[in-house]
């Protein structure tokens, strides 16, 4: 665990000293400004538009940063050969992978929290009153980003190509928002054997709707799965993909 923390701190240091957080702040200011403009167009729904648009934006920006990090974190170290000086020390490949992922998770959390702070400031200025559901929606968005990043790490190690990993992850991320519809199709589709490939795929696709509190809260009447289920699903799904990634990394030669 000590090595995991040392590696995570090193990744965090890289992001703090690099342009990662500066870019986060720039994008936060820019798009929240756009959301203010959009809010002004819907005069009677200004706060609602600002609320929804801001949360969606925070999630998308968090996802973009984490996906870039997840698909390049190991491949970049392999290409730059910085991995040599780590794996020739008493550090297991699993520790290396989990350390880098923890660093990524910490950076994503800091980036999303920074954007949320800007967002909340704007909402308060517009007269919005604190609602704990905001925190739930933000946490759900963060967990969505994390499980997608875990999937991307494994795909990057499997394909050894950033572009391939990024493309497949984005397809699965999109499908992840339609998993309930896909399950419905499987249940009511033609003969079950014909649905077998789709059924198999439904186990691979992350169930992002489970964590999509922003949309669920907007549709207040919709039946929501229990929070504990969603919050247990996220570490389980991410954990499985990280274990797959570890097994792929153990087979790699440098």
């Amino acid at each position: 665990m000590r090595n995991v923390w040392i590696l995570a701190r090193n990744s965090w240091q890289e992001n703090v000293r690099g342009k990662f957080f500066a870019l986060t702040v720039v994008f936060a200011v820019l798009v929240l400004y756009i959301s203010v403009l959009l809010g002004a167009l819907a005069a009677d729904q200004e706060v609602r538009v600002l609320y929804d648009f801001g949360l969606s934006f925070i999630e998308l920006m968090g996802l973009a940063g984490a996906l870039y990090g997840a698909t390049t974190v190991i491949l970049r170290e392999m290409e730059a050969k910085t991995i040599y000086l780590i794996l020739t020390r008493p550090v297991s490949r699993g520790e290396f992978l989990f350390g880098r992922f923890l660093g990524l998770a910490m950076s994503a959390a800091a980036s999303m929290a920074t954007m949320a702070a800007f967002h909340l400031l704007l909402l308060f200025l517009k007269g919005w009153r604190w609602d704990s559901l905001y925190a739930l929606a933000l946490l759900g968005a963060y967990l969505k980003v994390l499980i997608t990043a875990a999937l991307a790490v494994a795909l990057a190690l499997f394909s050894s190509s950033v572009l391939t990993a990024l493309s497949i992850t984005l397809i699965l991320w999109t499908l992840g928002h339609f998993l309930p519809e896909l399950r419905y199709m499987i249940a009511w589709g033609p003969a079950q054997w014909q649905m077998a490939p789709l059924r198999a795929l439904s186990f691979v696709i992350p169930d992002l709707q489970l964590l999509n509190y922003r949309d669920q809260l907007a549709a207040a009447s919709a039946q929501r799965p229990p929070t504990w289920l969603a919050f247990s699903y996220a570490p389980l799904y991410a954990g499985i993909w990280l274990l797959i990634a570890r097994s792929l990394l153990r087979k790699k030669e440098f």
């Binding site: 910085t82 490949r93 440098f254």
Partner: protein, 245 residues
């Protein structure tokens, strides 16, 4: 014979490259038998592509042998717990450019199991040993190649390893930096460290090593002790040319 730091027993490594359904195989190392004793300075010589770096990567678990067994400091080469006793300087070492030499050494020292006063002492000693004190606070991305190479040596020795593997340590350095490196390696040898060094600079190997192994097309074709090349007409260079031609 003293205990072995590194043992290769009938080790072969074949690289397989697949492209469009076709797999081509390239020999890296073939049937390598080699033993380096603790406290020995061993040089590995060979032309480009002869298998020197492959040999080092196999010893460090970065590559897996196709066949045969490798033992490092009494552990299997694939056992990462053995690496606490090893220092490694790769050819053209790469570092995180956002860190300073002192921070880099802190990072690698912690990963090698050092902490607290032992870590501070290790960093201070490694910086002093490699003459890096003056630039310890500058970003590595701003350092010259020679200074970066010194950071490479510093990270390889800061945890006081028993076995130090150096892949082309003086490659591309100016004469003054080479002299500095040579002195540093001689000090390590005097302190009883096991050194395994590859270099295209035969004169460096000649000055430092007790024995040399000469690799040709992935095969260890000759192992010679210091007195052998001392007796040879053209020294180690003559012995090397005669062997690889």
């Amino acid at each position: 014979m003293s205990a072995a730091a590194l043992v290769f027993s009938a080790v072969s490594k074949t690289y397989a490259y697949s492209h469009l359904g076709r797999t081509t195989y390239t020999r890296g190392i073939e049937d390598l038998d080699l033993s380096v004793a603790l406290g020995e300075a061993f040089g590995l010589l060979g032309l480009n592509g002869s298998g020197k770096t492959t040999t080092f990567k196999l010893a460090l678990g970065l590559l897996r042998p196709t066949s045969g067994k490798i033992s490092v400091l009494g552990h299997e080469a694939s056992d990462f717990r053995a690496y606490g006793g090893i220092g490694y300087l790769p050819e053209l070492p790469y570092f995180y450019p956002f860190l300073t030499p002192a921070e880099s050494l802190g990072f690698y020292g912690r990963l090698s199991g050092l902490e607290g006063a032992a870590l501070e002492a290790g960093i201070g000693q490694a910086l002093a040993e490699t003459g890096l004190e003056a630039v310890a606070g500058r970003k590595i991305g701003q350092l010259s190649k020679g200074l970066t190479q010194r950071v490479g040596l510093a990270q390889a020795i800061l945890h006081d390893p028993r076995l130090i593997i150096l892949d082309e340590p003086v490659s591309g350095l100016d004469p003054l930096a080479i002299k500095h490196f040579r002195d540093g390696l001689a000090r390590l040898k005097r302190r009883g460290k096991t050194l395994i060094v590859s270099s295209h600079s035969i004169s460096e190997i000649e000055k430092l090593c007790d024995r040399v192994g000469i690799l040709k097309d992935g095969r260890l074709v000759r192992v010679a002790a210091q007195d052998e090349w001392a007796r040879a007409k053209d020294g180690l260079e003559g012995l090397f040319v005669e062997t690889v031609q």
